[in-house]
Each structure stands twice: as structure tokens, then as C-alpha cells.
Subunit: 311 residues, 2 copies
């Protein structure tokens, strides 16, 4: 490995996972962003190339999540910021797959590796969150934390932030479909009620607690029936015109359940084996072709590793 | 064992357990109700004696949870109802310790044993819930289920009722104090808001999911910091005049946490060992003596067994 440069992959993530609005997420092996970091002699942090973003992202280090996260880390450690950054986006921006979180995590993870800092994930998390905050407007850890730690993550609370890696022993497969329709995160937030009934509050707590129990005891049936969201799905699903049709078809294939990834428009389905994950993908393709909606489908085991160095 | 009669103990239960409003509870070894069931020759279900209730409970089989639950079970099985019932109440009525649930469970559990029916807990549950409904006005399983199954119970949801015994490997000790002040369950319900902010909804889900994670992974620190309730405690604690004082003192003794049991006025504290449970009891006694409040204190390991036949 060249010690002047490093290439890092950071995974896409499915957040919310049904009842875990703002408090749960898990990582995938595919897709994911790639960041290549090289030391330079300019004494400046520069973005030298961005691919796969359709021209949507800024080359200004102060306006890109990857460099904002890196800069935050470098400032805290009082290190010089002489790095060139290449960012290869491998997923849609605003897809609901944690695109900005993946870039921010890739940046700080790459710095940690390139400089041999051996910083803990807890330390890296804070700086990745600062990068992600630029993109989403507020601190949300339900993409950043699973991207960085891998696996299923629970966020107990935000005051202070309390990340709980669930270390679930269960092997799960995810089929995620990113349909080519646009949902702005800010719009997806605005559509949500500000108040919920006591019954809905109880239902959300019951299902999120049950999902954690299912994950920790490898109880597939419990996982399946716990993926019920009363906070976001009833409202956000209306922003996805074919939501009910697609979900209904997916549920006939043996999927454990199907719901919205993050604020959408990506939808995800979980399954207990790769064959079912493939079948789900076929059914998604069929429906979206009928609806004339361009889309990308990703099949992946739940990623328990998090980011990694790539040669 | 005399096959014409049986004596059964059914445990008190702590429901809500902080963030698990309406969805969590656990059983104690002490206190608990006792039911003695004897076959009679009258062809009628009779309550022949009630002790420990201060004259509060009805001898009419149609107006007592224990016989309502039994009658429901006997009706379903089309069995004759020729039984004499003795009910020995060993805890306060309206104490927040699941008094009516314990009586209802004791009744159906005793019938199951006396008649050698070998019915499953799932079957007994439905009839115990019908008895409990008479006392509380609506179906709540967060006392009945832990009383019947033992241990920590999660109720995922009520449509249909979905009981999840957590089978937590952790050994926990509970110190419960029942102060001699009256809180009516109906009043404790009325004081709660009907709507909660999205932030409170997220907090409740995060803490209840984290408490389940703590219980399933024997993580005492996580259990400790997850016992936070934003749905009921902020409101119901106002009905207990010395609540903050007592809780603050208990938290200095090494308790994992302290909160309201059910709708109160009983308060409970969890701890990791019997010595701390004793220290907590001492501190409770000191505070309530200062406040001139009569009280009963119970120290018990979390009861993983549920009801049992006693000689």
C-alpha cells in the first residue's frame, strides 16, 4: 500500500427500518461511495475530482460533506490539511440510501487510515456527523452510525448521542430499489405531523423494541411483523406513487417485510436468504417496468463491517 | 396434593418499567396474591372468603376479577363452575403493582392445575385479560402477561395482542415501595396528554428499544440509562408529592434507575445485586419516615417463573 494515498469504500445505509424513525439503520455491501485521499504539497484541502454525481456536488471544500467532515477532524487534531480528495459517488444523491453520510464517513475513515491515527469509531462519528449535518440540516445519526460501525445500529437518544451497535447474530439480505423520482429530504420532513396520538406513540415504541428483540434473538417472524411504522410511512408513502402496488407484490415473494429507506424514494425489503432477495428484485423490476419508472436495484447481505480500504 | 383443592400464588408485577408505557412489565417474587380453589357440590362458582382487601372487593362472582377470569375460561371449555374460591390479597388494591392482574391470573392458573387441563399460557392469558379488564376498564396486558409468563415481557402490539417473553439472562433485583397515598388508575390516565411531539415519540421508541437491548445483552449500564419515560412519568410523578426527593435519594445508593410502577403510587428501583436492593430499601424508608408517609417495601429478585402451586 502506498502510504501517500488511500482508497476507501463506505457503504450505503437503510435508515428508519420501519419503526426506527431517526433511531435505527443498517449498512449494505452495495452500493457505497469511494473516496481516494492523497497527500499534496499545497497545504490545502482540495477536491480534485467528483464522479457519479451528475454535477450536483460542489468542489468547494466548505460545501461538500466529505471535506467538511475531514476538516472538522483535522482541526480538532490540529493537523495540516494538505490532501487531495477524489469522490466517486456510487449512489443517487437524495436517494434515501445515506449518500451524504457515506461520503462523510469515507472522508474521516480515509484520513484515519492514511495518517495511521487509530482513532475510535466514536471519535470519527462526531466529525462525520458534522459533515452529514451540512447536507441534511440537522444532526441525524441513523445513516452515519451504521455506515461507520456496520451492522444494525440503534440510537437510544441524541442528548447526548448514544449509539448502540446491536451486533445482531442474524444474517439478513436486503433488496433495495431506487426509483428515479425525486423526493427532497426537507419535503419528506415537512409532510410529517408534528404531534402523534398516545396510541401511535405506544405502537412505535412496541414495534421498535420488538424489532430489536427479533434481531438479537434471530427471530425472523418477529423481525417480519415488527417492521411497522406509524410515524413516517403512512405519510411519506404518498410521495411514492407506486408504493402500495410495489410493496404488495414484494410481500408475495417471501420478503420478511418492505418499507421506505430513509426519507425515500428508495424502498427496501428484507429476506432470510439470497434466493428470496433475488426473487424480490425480479418482482420490483416487473412492477417498475410496468410503471415506466427507471430504477436501480441493489441486492446485498447486511454489511457487518462498515467502511474498508480498497486496493 | 389434594386433588379437590389447590393453592396458587401469582406474583405482583411492575409495568411500564420507564419507557415501556403499556408495553412492558416484569414479575416479582414478593408480594403476590394467593387463591385457594376447592371443588364444591353446589354447581356454583362462589367466593367464600377474601382477606387482606380492607373490605374493598366484592364477593359477587360477576364483580371480582378472579371469578370473572375463571368464569370466562370455564365457559369456553363448557365446564361446570362448581368451585369455592378463597382470595388472599397480599398487596394493596390500586397500588400500581398489578393487584387485579395477579388475582385474575391466580384464578385461571389454579383452575388449570386443579383440573389438570394443561392449557398453554397463551390460552390462559385471554381469560385473565378479561378478568383484568373488569378492574381497569380496558385490555392492558402489561401486568397480566408478566404475572402469567414470569420475567420481562414486551407487548409488541394489541391488534392482535402480541406477547414477547424476553427471556432475559440478566439477574436483576427490584426494590418496590408502596406508599399509603391513593392514586386512581382512571385519574392517572386522565392526567396524560392525548398527543405527543414527534421528538417525544422518537425518544420513547429509542429508550424502549434500548432497554430491550440492555436486557437481552446483560448490559447494566444500558438498562440504567434506558429507563427514561417521556409519556407518563413527567405527568404522573406530580401525583406523588415526594417523588423527586425519593428518586434522587434512591439514585445515590447505586440503583440502576428508579421510576413509577404502573400508574403508581408504587415506585420501583432496579439494582444489580441484593446488597444494593437492601440499601435502596433503607433509603426509601428514611425518606418516607421524614415525610410521615406509611409504606410497605418489597425486595425481590425479578421472578422468571410466574405463578406457582403452594402447599
Amino acid at each position: 500500500m502506498n502510504t501517500d494515498s488511500v482508497k476507501v469504500f463506505a457503504p450505503a445505509t437503510v435508515s428508519n427500518v420501519g419503526p426506527g424513525f431517526d433511531i435505527m439503520g443498517f449498512a449494505l455491501y452495495e452500493p457505497g461511495d469511494e473516496v481516494i485521499l492523497k497527500k499534496n504539497n499545497t497545504g490545502k484541502l482540495r477536491i480534485v475530482d467528483i464522479t457519479g454525481d451528475n454535477g450536483k456536488l460542489s468542489y468547494s471544500p466548505a460545501e461538500n460533506t466529505v471535506t467538511i467532515a475531514m476538516k472538522s477532524l483535522l482541526n480538532e487534531l490540529e493537523l495540516p490539511d494538505n490532501f487531495d480528495v477524489v469522490l466517486n459517488k456510487k449512489m443517487g444523491i437524495g436517494s434515501g440510501l445515506g449518500s451524504s453520510a457515506a461520503s462523510a464517513v469515507a472522508g474521516v475513515f480515509a484520513l484515519n487510515k492514511l495518517l495511521g491515527l487509530n482513532l475510535s469509531n466514536d471519535m470519527l462519528l462526531n466529525h462525520a456527523l458534522i459533515g452529514e449535518k451540512f447536507a441534511s440540516g440537522s444532526i441525524h445519526a441513523d445513516n452515519v452510525a451504521p455506515c461507520l460501525y456496520g451492522g444494525f445500529i440503534l440510537i437510544r437518544g441524541y442528548e447526548p448521542i448514544d449509539i448502540i451497535p446491536l451486533n445482531s447474530p442474524v444474517e439478513l439480505y436486503c433488496t433495495a430499489v431506487y426509483p428515479d423520482i425525486e423526493i427532497k429530504t426537507s419535503e419528506a420532513r415537512k409532510i410529517l405531523p408534528q404531534m402523534y396520538s398516545i396510541n401511535d406513540t405506544i405502537k412505535q415504541a412496541g414495534n421498535s423494541a420488538a424489532l430489536v428483540a427479533g434481531l438479537l434473538t434471530s427471530n425472523f417472524e418477529l423481525i417480519s411483523r415488527s417492521i411497522v411504522d406509524v410515524v413516517a410511512e403512512p405519510y411519506r408513502s404518498k410521495l411514492i406513487p407506486f408504493y402500495n402496488k410495489l410493496r404488495d407484490v414484494v410481500l408475495t415473494t417471501g420478503a420478511l417485510n418492505c418499507n421506505i429507506s430513509g426519507s425515500g424514494p428508495t424502498m427496501f425489503a428484507l429476506s432470510a436468504n439470497p434466493e428470496t432477495a433475488e426473487k424480490i428484485a425480479e418482482s420490483m423490476k416487473t412492477v417498475l417496468n410496468e410503471e415506466n419508472v427507471n430504477h436501480n436495484i441493489y441486492i446485498s447481505r447486511v454489511n457487518k463491517t462498515g467502511p474498508e480500504v480498497r486496493e
